[in-house]
């Protein structure tokens, strides 16, 4: 088996070794599978491992590359996919008991694109049931149980791409596919100390992926570095006529290299000052330190506020109403009673009471909010803030109640998800409990290069992304 140091290399570094035939895709897949079998169950990180498929793909990659047919940066690179994308012949459980034996006889478009790129699927990653589509109150709301944070297994990974976060952080795969309707990539990336990118809405096809909110769902990469997120996005982005909301050909594609991503002038960064109700002590200093690193390297930093408007309300209502339509059959049949979370079991009944007028009104307000946010980007290339308002929460924390307290109307995930903006979180420090903090960058819709440029520039000058969890206590 390969040394742990190799398994924590970036996709770019692994890809270069594979391209130059210094590393065997077969040996790499075997090593990640071995590690996943050993450590994965201790973290509840996977729903299903796919060793037969992985080894078939790894052998094919080795043969292709030996024959001079190198396909690109993901050729021979193992990955995991959140268990809401269809993989032909394997269970696709959506993380939920009512779908525990569900199988599809086709691949999701994103899986097809990865197959064509020669990538190697080693497993389906655990997730919050229905990706939280009908609501949930804690990390236990998953078919596979609470996903444990590799930095400290008494703490949660966040969700809903919980397994994807744990897998990358624990070195079980170099990258994993996640999905994000409102924060489901950014939060686990932040809590697990890895890079996580939510691409612009419509850039990555969702055909064959479970729907929650049709107008907000996105698929995106979770990896060690922002650069790796760019590499993966360059493969999975592209127009797909099977996804109604896919961006047009010529717009959806994402040609990427760190050189074309570097902006022609100093990066203009707006530090968001009014989005979180409160932040964990120490986090604000980490964000300020991160921005100082960028400033020392040429970026222009200034403070900016999000105007007061019902962003969170519009995001939450859009998700509630669209999810009720997406899961209408589950709710109407009463099978939602089989969900684990008490909120998920009943939320659909409440949401069925929304009217068409209410939905349309939310969407009309949304158009206005989108324009308002778009204007901010006349002055800034990216907005910056914490990936999440705290480090990971312990499993002993009381369940969160969606319906408690006033609405936190300017939280960044609601704003950026509602408006289809790209965002990327990378690690930037640690809490007093030695749990990772993340800094996230948000850009104008379709300016995915800007978030990668900001995060990549930060990572070139820091080594937070090279820190590894003390996995010894998981795998003594």
């Amino acid at each position: 088996m390969l040394a742990e140091d190799v398994l924590f290399l970036s996709v770019r570094e692994l890809g270069e070794r594979i391209r130059t035939r210094k590393l065997s895709p077969i040996e790499l897949a075997e090593s990640y599978l071995h590690r996943s079998k050993r450590i994965g169950p201790k973290l509840n990180a996977y729903v299903t491992l796919t060793p037969e498929l992985a080894m078939r793909q790894a052998y094919a990659a080795e043969k292709d590359i030996a024959g001079g047919h190198y396909r690109g940066p993901l050729h021979g690179i193992p990955y995991a996919a959140k268990d809401l994308v269809a993989v032909q012949g394997y269970p696709t459980t959506w993380g939920a008991r009512p779908y525990a034996s569900q199988k599809f006889d086709f691949n999701a478009t994103v899986i097809e694109r990865l197959n064509n790129a020669g990538a190697v699927l080693i497993g389906k990653a655990a997730m919050i049931e229905l990706a939280g589509g009908l609501g949930y109150s804690d990390g236990n709301a998953s078919l596979t149980g609470s996903c444990k944070n590799p930095w400290n297994t008494d703490y949660w990974t966040c969700g809903s791409s919980s397994g994807s976060g744990a897998i990358v952080a624990a070195g079980l795969a170099p990258w994993a596919l996640g999905s994000d309707t409102r924060g489901s990539i950014i939060c686990p990336a932040s809590w697990c100390g890895i890079a996580g990118m939510r691409p612009s809405f419509g850039r990555v096809s969702r055909f064959g992926a479970m729907a929650i909110a049709y107008s907000m769902d996105k698929l995106g990469p979770m990896a060690r570095t922002a650069d790796d997120c760019g590499l993966v996005l360059s493969v999975i982005a592209g127009h797909d006529s099977q996804d109604h909301d896919s961006l047009p050909a010529g717009v959806a594609e994402f040609p990427y290299s760190p050189f074309i991503t570097a902006p022609p002038r100093p990066l203009r960064i707006g530090r968001l000052t009014n989005v979180w109700r409160e932040m964990e002590p120490g986090l604000e200093n980490c964000i300020n330190d991160a921005l100082k690193v960028l400033e020392r390297n040429g970026a222009k930093i200034s403070d900016v506020e999000i105007p007061d408007a019902p962003y969170e309300e519009a995001a939450e209502l859009t998700i509630l109403i669209e999810a009720t339509s997406a899961f209408q059959e589950l709710i109407a049949s009463g099978r939602c009673a089989d969900l684990i979370d008490p909120v998920g079991r009943i939320n659909g009944y409440a949401s069925m009471e929304f009217s068409a007028d209410e939905y349309l009104r939310v969407q009309r307000v949304r158009t206005y909010l989108q324009k308002q946010i778009n204007k901010l980007f006349d002055d800034f290339d990216v907005l910056a803030t914490a990936g999440e308002s705290s480090a990971a929460s312990p499993f002993t924390a009381p369940p969160e109640e969606d319906s408690a307290g006033p609405v936190a109307r300017r939280e960044p995930d609601g704003i950026s998800s509602l408006c289809g903006l790209p965002a990327l979180s990378v690690p930037c420090g640690f809490s007093r409990d030695k749990l990772p903090f993340g800094v996230q960058f948000i850009a104008r819709a379709l300016n995915d290069h800007a978030v990668i440029a900001a995060a990549h520039s930060f990572q070139v000058h820091t080594d937070w992304h090279r820190q590894r969890p003390p996995i010894g206590f998981v795998d003594p």
Binding site: P310, E313, N347, M352, E353
Partner: protein, 81 residues
Amino acid sequence: MHPVTGLSAAQLADVEAKLANVVRKYGARLTESERQHIRKILVYNETMLASIRSFRLKNGDSPASVLKVSFAEGTTPKEKS
């Protein structure tokens, strides 16, 4: 205005009407505790809707959900016309 929920009497009446409708349709599936939980959710939803309703809109302000016309794969709209 209700001192805890911040909702008006009319808004609270809406909540009760919605709860009655849920119970009418799905009451056989719900425990008393779940019905109370649903009331709490409906109050929260009503609070969010109140924010949205207070936002001034004009007749021409169109929704973010639109039908996108399609055309044959491999052609441009110009070629099609």
